[in-house]
């Protein structure tokens, strides 16, 4: 802090020294002399080719300066609605000039400010500013404009039925997407800026009355605690605010879909939107929500329930299939029916490795293939799939390195980990599969069980923003499992999920007796 702020240099012109966040700059007021202000700003924006200082005079009498960052502001609009009316202003002497100028600018969003750090903030978000001779106030004009990606369907969370829009990198667009879904004024959006250099705008969105105050306060408190030089993606924030930083399980959900975000808001959760990334964070997160896909709620409930169970089963297959295979082949051959045992023994006759090594080789290869497929440019992608089919497929078994049952197991495991709708949870399964494989290679099924007990014990201790991770599963309350064990039809999901046990007010989310039937309709 010592070296910050102004230092008198070259007579009257102070020099600004940046050391830390813009938020911690001292509040230097604007000087009445336009030249001094300009000198300060020019020294601050030294070697910044994209900053434009445009001197002009209001109706050729009063000097003024227009300042903006090229590419962040809409220059056409500036010319038309700011520069032109000011330069052509008639009778500038009448009345106070500052008020006249504000009236002449035909832009809806106009702010006044009186300190130098405000200038930095305003022009960095694309608002051009005007400084006028002999005025200790400046005007910032809301004319930001920069290149945005157009909205498209999120690649990581595709649906067959459901909205196709996704969040983009621009915060304002994302807030508008949420606001368009939830129009109630109780949808609150608190803004916080994080990151010493990046000044990333972060929005904490929640519905007042549905989200617990303690939760909102906790989220804001943890966000404000973050002191780092830059936030470039939601992952930075996620790792800085989770409850158990060393746990492999995701403690915040992320989504690119406004409909998912809106649904979570309606359940009383908090959404964290971050400027510069299409991913928003959802807090708190419970284990059951890792296995819920947005489309579950759009499709008929029978099929959603079935698919949800399929997902649960494949979650365990994805986690345990290779280790169970290793355990049975190494320790418990008697469990297999004789004919199957013979087939497997026959196919393994040529294989030089024990089952554990074989499984490890194949799983690592599969992970490598997947990683290659994600990182490679699309043109080369086809080559990866061809090679992949060779590595995990007929050629692998023909070469005598792996047995064909192992290829089956790896393939099923691979499919199972794609079945997890949340990418973050899929990563966790892939990660945990390996230690369990080692355990099963050492202790057989007992090792697999030890892996499970350890993971479940860990899950039981986990909390996400004070909400137990296994909340609904271990609570044993029937009304909590209607969105876990089944996907109840919408007319039966009449209460919000219970995130905090003590909270009972405002629990209903629909009126009573909503089950449709012909008699209740008014058509007859």
């Amino acid at each position: 802090m010592k070296n910050m702020g102004f230092r008198k240099k070259r007579g009257d012109t102070p020099n600004i020294q940046f050391k830390e966040s813009m938020n911690s700059l001292p509040e230097i007021p604007l000087n009445p002399s336009l030249d001094i202000n300009i000198d300060i700003l020019k020294s601050a924006y030294k070697d910044c080719a994209d900053v434009v200082f445009r001197d002009f005079s209001i109706s050729s009498e009063i000097n003024a300066v227009l300042l903006y960052i090229d590419g962040l502001s809409n220059t056409e609009e500036i010319d038309q609605h700011v520069l032109m009316p000011l330069i052509q202003l008639k009778n500038p002497i009448e009345g106070p000039i500052f008020e006249r100028v504000k009236k002449e600018i035909s832009v809806s969003d106009i702010k006044e400010f009186s300190t130098i750090p405000d200038i930095f903030k305003q022009i960095s978000i694309g608002n051009p500013i005007i400084l006028i001779e002999r005025q200790t106030m400046g005007i910032s004009v809301g004319l930001p404009k920069w290149e945005k990606r157009s909205m498209k369907e999120p690649d990581a969370e595709t649906v067959i039925r459901g909205p196709r829009e996704g969040f983009v990198e621009t915060l304002r667009v994302n807030t508008s997407l949420l606001r368009r879904k939830i129009r109630h004024p109780l949808l609150k959006m608190k803004q916080i800026s994080i990151g010493g250099y990046t000044e990333t705008q972060v929005i904490v969105a929640y519905i007042e009355g549905l989200a617990e105050n303690t939760l909102v306060n906790e989220v804001t408190h943890r966000l404000k605690r973050i002191k780092m030089d830059g936030i470039l993606e939601s992952g930075y924030i996620e790792e800085m605010i989770q409850d158990s930083p060393l746990s492999p399980f995701p403690q915040l959900l992320n989504t690119e879909r406004p409909d998912v975000a809106a649904a979570c808001l309606l359940e009383g959760r908090v959404i964290i939107l971050i400027d510069g990334t299409p991913f928003s964070l959802i807090a708190p997160c419970t284990f059951s929500s890792l296995l819920q896909a947005p489309e579950d709620y759009y499709n008929p409930f029978y099929i959603s329930t079935l698919i949800r169970w399929l997902r649960y089963i494949f979650f365990f297959i994805g986690l345990l299939a290779p280790s169970a295979y290793v355990a049975i082949l190494t320790f418990h051959q008697e469990m297999l029916p004789t004919s199957l045992l013979l087939t497997i023994a026959q196919s393994r006759e040529q294989i030089p490795f024990p089952a554990l090594v074989e499984a490890f080789m194949m799983e690592v290869t599969f992970e490598a293939l997947r990683e290659a497929g994600v990182r490679l440019p699309k043109q080369v992608g086809a080559a990866v799939s061809i090679v992949g089919a060779l590595v995990i497929g007929q050629a692998a078994t023909a070469s005598g390195l792996v047995s064909s049952p192992m290829v089956m197991v790896v393939a099923i495991t691979g499919i199972a980990s794609f079945l997890v709708p949340r990418y973050a949870a899929g990563i966790t399964i892939r990660l945990l599969r390996f230690p369990i494989m080692i355990l099963s290679g050492m202790l057989g099924l007992l090792g697999v069980m030890l892996g499970i007990t350890t993971i479940v014990a860990h899950l039981c201790t986990l909390k996400s923003f004070g909400v137990p991770y296994l909340n609904s599963a271990a609570g044993l309350k029937l009304r909590n499992v209607k969105d876990v064990l089944v996907r109840a039809p919408w007319w039966a999901m009449d209460t919000r999920p219970e995130l905090f046990s003590e909270d009972t007010r405002n629990r209903r989310r629909e009126a009573e007796n909503q089950m449709p039937s012909p008699e209740k309709g008014d058509g007859g």
Binding site: L446, M449, T453, T461
Partner: protein, 366 residues
């Protein structure tokens, strides 16, 4: 209180059920059968007497001293010095009991499938897993119990459902051919196991609805006794007189299951599922030792104690038991008297002194 977490009455019942029954279904049938022969299913019913008695004593004591465990009110009742000594005695017994439980687990796993793995490795690996649960506190153990025990329960019921065609009800006749005495002799081991309900005193202060602890305690004892009785009956129906020679009859039973000629030899799965119950049992024991020790030493937190006590438990499990045969012989002879002395006499003594020295608290019920 050191422990911040709370459990529900159901969780209390489940934890105590696992603590008593997990190893009971392994060892009790064999030990009981040595004396009781065909009447082995009666023995747990006699044994339930000490279970009920101890639950009542412990619950009444907890009404005298709400929010305190046996270690804490021992000192209040008997004064500082004697209280500390008796509490230490109880605590040391608990450590011993816990290490016996770990050893039972280890011996069973060794004889069931890991014949040549060193015992330390088997008990040590589950101790690490339990340490995570213990570190998480009682809430973690309670949640694990709610998640795991239904799986264990269903799979054990399934064994006997699959075996219905092989069950022969006539195997239990004649009932009490040699009078009541053999079944009472055989009830020594069930007495020992059910006396472990005295450990409930560690969990009672942590239950949210205090009025219902008596009900849940009794429910838990009934469930344990029923499990032992039904398990013994099932084995008796299946094996008849050869039951006396079977070390782990439940798993011999699992070996018999064969459905559609592909679903057979499920004993490995049954053992693996049993580990879930064993995990709850060992975690609960482990937790009680850790909690008791830190209460005895009046420490602000029990978490730093988890690993050192885990070490001690594993060491004790090696030191105190020379071999599997000695362990089984002890369970049929000395261990029940040892268990009953500590777990029945100490609480009864405390209750007597408490009744004489302390007035009935206002919140006294039942």
């Amino acid at each position: 209180m050191i422990e911040k977490g709370r459990i529900s009455g159901l969780e209390l019942a489940l934890i105590m059920y696992a603590t008593v029954s997990a190893t009971a279904i392994l060892y009790i049938p064999y030990i009981t059968a040595q004396h009781a022969k065909r009447d082995l299913w009666l023995s747990p019913i006699w044994g339930s007497l000490s279970g009920f008695l101890i639950v009542v004593i412990i619950v009444i004591l907890s009404r005298y001293f709400p929010g305190k465990t046996l270690i804490e009110y021992c000192e209040l009742i008997l004064g500082r010095t004697i209280g500390k000594i008796i509490a230490f005695l109880y605590l040391f017994f608990l450590l011993h009991d816990t290490s016996i439980a770990f050893r039972e687990y280890g011996e069973f796993v060794e004889s069931a499938f890991l014949h040549r793995t060193p015992m330390l490795f088997v008990t040590g690996s589950i101790a690490i897993s339990c340490a995570i649960a213990v570190h998480g506190g009682i809430q973690t153990i309670g949640r694990c119990a709610v998640l795991f025990l239904p799986i264990v329960f269903v799979s054990y019921v399934l064994i006997y459902i699959f075996l219905i065609p092989d069950l022969n009800l006539k195997n239990m006749l004649p009932i009490m051919a040699d009078g009541v005495l053999p079944s009472i002799k055989g009830s020594l081991a069930p007495h020992a196991w059910l006396s472990q309900y005295s450990l409930m005193s560690f969990l009672l202060p942590l239950v949210t609805k205090q009025q219902k602890v008596m009900k849940w305690g009794i429910v838990s004892v009934v469930a344990s006794v029923l499990t032992m009785v039904l398990m013994n009956l099932g084995n008796l129906f299946l094996f008849g007189d050869i039951l006396i020679n079977l070390q782990f009859p439940v798993f011999e039973a699992a070996r018999f299951v064969s459905v559609g000629s592909f679903f057979e030899h499920i004993e490995s799965i049954i053992i693996a599922v049993w580990v879930l119950g064993g995990f709850i049992q060992l975690s609960a024991f482990f937790y009680m030792v850790v909690l008791g020790t830190s209460q005895w030493l009046k420490l602000p937190s029990y978490k730093p104690f988890v690993l050192p006590i885990g070490f001690l438990i594993i060491l004790f499990s090696v030191w105190t038991i020379p071999s599997f045969e000695d362990m089984i012989r002890g369970m049929g002879t000395t261990v029940p008297y040892y268990f009953l002395t500590i777990q029945l006499i100490i609480p009864s003594l405390l209750l007597c002194v408490a009744v004489i020295r302390w007035k009935k608290p206002k919140s006294f019920m039942q």
